[in-house]
């Protein structure tokens, strides 16, 4: 139990994710300004560590005079929302498919493996671009497209862990006790593979956040004027030589959040690993 929490990285990750979750949940209460309000008289104000800063705009303003800190906090909300929703959608799909394949074996498992291989042969970014290009960009479309594309890691992990648990005697005992397949899956198998799935979920959240940023950067993710971090980077790239902070700030935010999620994921993996060793 202790190894995971003794690791400083786990704590760093937990704190970063905690702050991000807090910002995401309470964004409307935290922001100093309306993130959508433009003020062309205050374009590209510099952040607090540079000379000539406006104290009411801690991180300065963007090219349309919108408060950068407010947009960053709202961007966090959007990133977290996309990360979590995509992970829930892909988790439901992947875990269902993986557990069924691992538990039933035989033909069902062949179909599951085929589906996973098919999915792996699809380039995520290209498919997502094509779907968003055809259906238009909105957050809902983006979340469901990514959710439908990112389930394979859940499926692979759920399948292999289910196969391990399936062969344990307590599953045989449940079978002999006359439990239904559903009862065995829900009561005996799922709780015992949940710790592995939580680790996958953290990785998927980070991946979904990065993909959203990439798609938004390409102009096919979250539609403006929503303040997505990827979109902020895209909009800032024209100004990066004269006002570098407009690209540096969302870049660092993205990097720190993904790093934090990954650190937390690693910590959780160690934590659960330590528990199953004991």
């Amino acid at each position: 139990m202790k190894r995971g929490w003794r690791n400083i990285g786990t704590w760093v990750g937990a704190v970063i994710v905690g702050i991000a979750a807090f910002c995401a949940l309470f964004a409307p209460l935290l922001v100093p300004h309306d993130p959508f309000a433009q003020d062309l008289g205050k374009r590209l104000l510099v952040p607090f560590w540079m000379e000539g800063t406006d104290p009411s705009h801690l991180l300065g303003t963007d090219q349309l005079g919108r408060d950068y800190l407010s947009r960053l906090i709202y961007g966090c909300r959007i990133s977290m929302m996309i990360g979590v929703t995509v992970t829930i959608v892909s988790g439901i799909i992947g875990i269902t498919i993986g557990v069924l394949g691992g538990f039933m074996g035989g033909r069902v498992d062949d179909v599951v493996l085929f589906a996973v291989t098919t999915r792996l042969s699809l380039p995520v970014v290209l498919v997502a671009l094509a779907v968003v290009g055809l259906l238009g960009s909105s957050m809902t479309i983006l979340m469901f497209t990514l959710g439908l594309l990112l389930w394979e890691r859940f499926a692979v992990v759920a399948r292999s862990t289910t196969m391990q648990v399936r062969n344990l005697d307590f599953v045989a005992a449940a079978w002999c006790a006359g439990c239904s397949r559903f009862r065995i899956l829900a009561g005996e198998v799922l709780p015992n593979i949940a710790s592995h799935l939580v680790v996958v979920a953290t990785l998927e959240i980070a991946l979904a956040i990065l993909l959203e940023a990439a798609l938004s950067f390409l102009g096919l993710g979250v539609p403006p004027p929503l303040p997505s971090w990827g979109l902020m980077i895209a909009e800032a790239k024209d100004y990066m030589f004269f006002s570098p902070w407009v690209i540096v700030i969302p870049g660092i935010a993205l990097f720190v959040l993904v790093l934090g999620i990954n650190l937390l994921g690693d910590g959780l993996r160690d934590l659960f690993g330590a528990r199953s060793d004991a």
Partner: protein, 308 residues
């Protein structure tokens, strides 16, 4: 009345190109209230046989009947009310995330014909019966000792009041000091509840203690079957003799007894022709390599050896 009837059961496994014959044309029956001990070295197919009888694996051919009804005709709920397992390793046979109370209640809940209060009452009675206190019901398996865990597994097996219990090495994962307690508990429960046991073990002393009849298994076949006292007093098959001779003596300095079977373990994917025991048999004759022995009946059992 026979509790378990197995006729010509056969089970093979495919491992790549090799076919492993785990249970090869095995027939036997256990009368109601009896205890049949099955002994044999690891890999001889005794656990596979247990799994066939429990319905955890389908037999390739042959027929298995419990309580006069064919296993394949019973649905799993009905089967659960007749026959239950106790597995070897109580660390693997209990869901690590379930409380003891819920583990024992599981077979009752699966039947879906008991009310909540009935389930709670039956579970409590069963826990007391196997010698666990009330507070144990709220514990997780990790908080129990090996012996206590095996008691939980026994409680789970008996909570539906089955007629037959298949014990697959129920004591071999336990400390020696606890083994006797569990064996006594099993004997006590059999007497009180009128159970029939199929008792699988590699430990001859354990089998001698609990079984009324013993069957010796070698490479997927039952090579000798006899009431316990007769088998231990006058073993006929050379393999049975070797097994009896291999029991370790508590005398220090004597080392491991040499039973004259050689160092090579038999390969179930490559069963020798003729008598399958002949390559290791200390008294084998040339004809043993060519003639497959038939079962020679004895007054209350049988032996499968050309020379017996």
């Amino acid at each position: 009345m026979t509790a378990i009837e197995v006729r010509n059961a056969r089970k093979t496994f495919k491992a790549g190109k090799r076919t492993v014959v785990a249970v090869d044309d095995v027939s036997f029956s256990v009368r109601e209230g009896g205890v049949l001990g099955i002994v044999g070295e690891s890999g001889c197919g005794k656990s596979t046989l247990a799994r066939l009888i429990l319905g955890l694996l389908p037999a390739d051919s042959g027929e298995i009947a419990i309580d006069g009804r064919r296993l394949v005709d019973l649905d799993r709920k009905a089967r659960a009310r007749l026959i239950q397992p106790v597995f070897q390793d109580p660390f693997a046979s209990l869901n690590p995330l379930a409380r003891v109370r819920d583990i024992v209640a599981m077979p009752l809940r699966a039947q879906a014909s008991f009310s909540k209060s009935e389930v709670a009452k039956t579970v409590e009675e069963m826990l007391t019966r196997v010698g666990l206190s009330r507070e144990m019901g709220g514990r997780l398996p990790a908080e129990l000792s090996g012996g206590q865990r095996q008691r939980v597994a026994i409680a789970r097996a008996l909570v539906l009041r089955p007629r037959i219990v298949v014990c697959d090495e129920p004591t071999s994962a336990l400390d020696v000091s606890v083994q006797a307690q569990i064996l006594n508990l099993l004997s006590e429960l059999r007497r009180d509840l009128g159970l029939t046991y199929l008792f699988i073990s590699h430990n001859l002393a354990v089998v001698e203690h609990v079984a009324s009849e013993v069957a010796v298994m070698y490479l997927g076949r039952l090579v000798e079957r006899e009431p316990t006292e007769m088998l231990f007093a006058r073993p006929e098959h050379p393999y049975t003799k070797a097994l009896l001779a291999s029991v370790l003596t508590p005398e220090p300095g004597l080392g491991v007894p040499d039973v004259g079977l050689g160092d090579t373990l038999p390969d179930p994917a490559n069963i020798p022709p003729g008598c399958r025991f002949h390559p290791r048999c200390p008294i084998a004759e040339p004809r043993c390599a060519t003639t497959t022995p038939a079962v020679k009946p004895r007054p209350e059992g049988g032996v499968e050896c050309l020379l017996a």
